[in-house]
C-alpha cells in the first residue's frame, strides 16, 4: 500500500507535467491557426460526448507539416542547427580533450582542485557566461582593442553577430560537459598500458593514438553527445551572439511562438525537432548502457 503511494506520487507528477503536455503539443501541431483564445482550432469539447470527440479528430490535419516542408526557411534552420551542432561539438572536443588529458596527468593532490575549477563555471549562470562574450567580441570589444593595439589588424574585425561568435559561445559554455566525461575515462586509464606500448616500440605519439585515445573512447562519445544534443535546440547563444545570418531551430521556434504567435506551426517545429533528436538520444543511451555494463 505504502509502496503504491510512493510510486504513484512522482509517477503521476511526471505523467501530468511531462507526458500530457507533450501530447498537447502533438495535438496543437495538427490544429489550425485561428484568431481566437486560445489561438487555434479545433478545441476539444467533451460536453458534446462521442460526437464532439469524432468532430475534433476529423478536424485535425497535417497542414502545418506540409507548410513546414514548403517554406525552405524551416529546412534551412534544421540543417543549419545540425551543422552548427556538429562543428561546435568537434571544436569542443578539440579544446576539451587536452584539458581533460592534462587534468588526468596532473599530480593526484591537484586533481580535486582542477576538477572544481572546471565545475565552477558550470554552476555560474549560463546567460552571464554568454553575455561575457558580447563585451569581448563586439567591434569596440576587448579582443579587437588588443588586436588593434598589437598591430595585428588595422580595422576592427566583425565577430559579434556572426556564426563564428556562435561557435565561440557554444564551445565556451559547453566545455565542462566535454571535459568531465573524458577526464573520468582518462583517470581510470591504467598507466602501465602506455608504458607497455612504449616498451614494445611505440613512440609517445603512437602510444597516445593507439592506446590512450581508444581507451578514452566512451568518454569522448559521452561528451560529444552531451554537447551535441542540447546544442541542436539552443536558443540563448544564437540570439545573443548570432546575427540574422545564423539560423537555429530553437530561435525559429521561439520567434514563431512569441513574435508570430502561430502556435500550431511552433508546435509542429517542436515535434520535428524532437524527431531529429530521437536518433542521437537513443545512440547516447546505448553508449551509456554499454559503459555501465563494462563497469559492472
Amino acid at each position: 500500500m505504502r509502496r503504491a503511494v510512493l510510486i504513484a506520487i512522482p509517477y503521476v507528477w511526471l505523467l501530468a507535467l511531462f507526458l500530457v503536455p507533450f501530447f498537447i503539443v502533438l495535438k496543437i501541431s495538427l490544429s489550425d491557426t485561428a484568431l481566437a483564445i486560445p489561438p487555434y482550432t479545433p478545441t476539444l469539447d467533451l460536453s458534446a460526448g462521442w460526437a464532439g470527440i469524432k468532430e475534433f479528430f476529423s478536424e485535425l490535419d497535417f497542414e502545418n507539416y506540409v507548410w513546414l516542408t514548403e517554406d525552405d526557411l524551416y529546412w534551412k534552420a534544421y540543417l543549419s542547427s545540425v551543422k552548427i551542432a556538429l562543428i561546435s561539438t568537434f571544436f569542443t572536443l578539440l579544446v576539451g580533450y587536452p584539458i581533460a588529458y592534462g587534468m588526468a596527468r596532473a599530480p593526484q593532490e591537484w586533481r580535486p582542485t582542477l576538477m572544481m575549477l572546471v565545475i565552477l563555471p558550470f554552476w555560474t549562470s549560463f546567460l552571464i557566461r554568454v553575455y561575457a562574450w558580447m563585451g569581448i567580441l563586439s567591434n569596440e570589444g576587448y579582443l579587437n582593442q588588443i588586436l588593434l593595439w598589437t598591430g595585428l589588424i588595422s580595422t576592427p574585425l566583425t565577430i559579434l553577430n556572426t556564426s563564428t561568435a556562435v561557435y565561440i559561445g557554444i564551445v565556451y559554455t559547453y566545455l565542462p560537459f566535454m571535459i568531465l566525461p573524458i577526464y573520468s575515462a582518462l583517470e581510470r586509464l591504467d598507466g602501465s598500458l602506455i608504458e607497455a606500448a612504449e616498451d614494445l616500440g611505440c613512440s609517445r605519439l603512437q602510444a597516445f593514438w593507439l592506446v590512450t585515445i581508444p581507451l578514452s573512447k566512451p568518454g569522448i562519445i559521452a561528451g560529444c553527445f552531451l554537447v551535441m544534443i542540447p546544442v541542436i535546440g539552443e536558443f540563448v547563444i544564437p540570439s545573443l551572439l548570432g546575427g540574422s545570418g545564423t539560423l537555429m531551430i530553437g530561435k525559429v521556434l521561439w520567434e514563431e511562438f512569441f513574435s508570430n504567435r502561430d502556435w500550431p506551426v511552433a508546435s509542429a517545429v517542436a515535434i520535428i525537432l524532437l524527431l531529429i533528436l530521437v536518433v542521437p538520444i537513443v545512440l547516447f543511451q546505448r553508449n551509456q548502457q554499454k559503459q555501465a555494463e563494462s563497469d559492472g
Binding site: 507535467l17 588529458y101 592534462g102 572546471v118 546567460l127 542540447p230 541542436i232
Partner: protein
Amino acid sequence: MNRLSWFNTVSLTLGFAFLYIPMIILIVFSFNESKLVTVWAGFSTKWYGELLQNEAFLDAAWVTVRVAVFSSTLATILGTAAAYVLVRSGRFFGRTLFSGMIYAPLVMPEVITGLSLLLLFIGIGLDRGILTIVLAHTTFSMCFVSVVVSSRLITFDRSLEEAALDLGCSPAQAFRLVTLPIIAPAVISGWLLAFTLSLDDLVIASFTSGPSATTLPIKIFSAVRLGVSPEINALSTIMIAVVTVGVITASLVTKRAMVRQRQDELAAARTE
C-alpha cells in the same frame, strides 16, 4: 608522472585561461567609472549603487529566489522518491515508461519543455505566475535530483536497511534512520543542483511566467539584448561571487563530512 610535461602544462594553462578570462574581464569592468563598458575610466562602485536602487531587478531577484527555494525543495522530495522507486521497487506496472520519463527531460531541449508546459497551463486554465514557474522547474529538476540520488542508492549496502528492519524498525523508520542519513550528501547535492538550475533558467521561465512574475534571467535577457551595460556587469559580478562562495563552502562542508566519516570508520575499526 609526478611532474606535468610542458604539453600538459600549456594545455591546462590555456584551457583555464579560456574558461576564466571572460568572467574576470566582466568583473573588472563592473568597477569601471565610465558608462562605456569598453573604456576604462577609473575605479568606481557606482553601478552597484544604481543596481541596488533598481526596483525591477530587485523584484525579479526576489521572485527568482522564492521560485528556486520552492521548486528545488519539491524537486528534491519527488526526485528522491522517484530514485528510491527506480532502484528499490523492482517491477511494477509501467516501469519502463516511468524510467523513460525520468531520463527524457534531461535531454529535452528547453524550448520544447517550455512550450509544452505553457500549452498545458493554458489548456487547464491556470494563470501564469509564480506557481506555474515552480511547477515547471520542479518537473525538470526532479529528474536531475533522481539521477544524482539513484547513483548513490545503487552503491549503497542494502543489508544495512535489512538489519534495521530485522531489529524492529518499520520501513519508514528504516528509511529515516538508516537510508536517509547515508544518502544525505546526494540529496543535498541534488537540492543544490535543482536550486542552481532554477536560478539559471531563462527559456522555461520565459514560457511559463506571466506579466505578474518575472524572474531575474528574463530581466537580464531583455536588458542584455540591447547590448553590454555596466549595470549588468555589476549584477553578473554579484551572481558570480554568490555562486563561487556557495560552491566553495559546499565543497568544504562535504570534504569535512567525508573526513569525519573516515575518522568514525577508523575509530569503529579500532574498537572492534
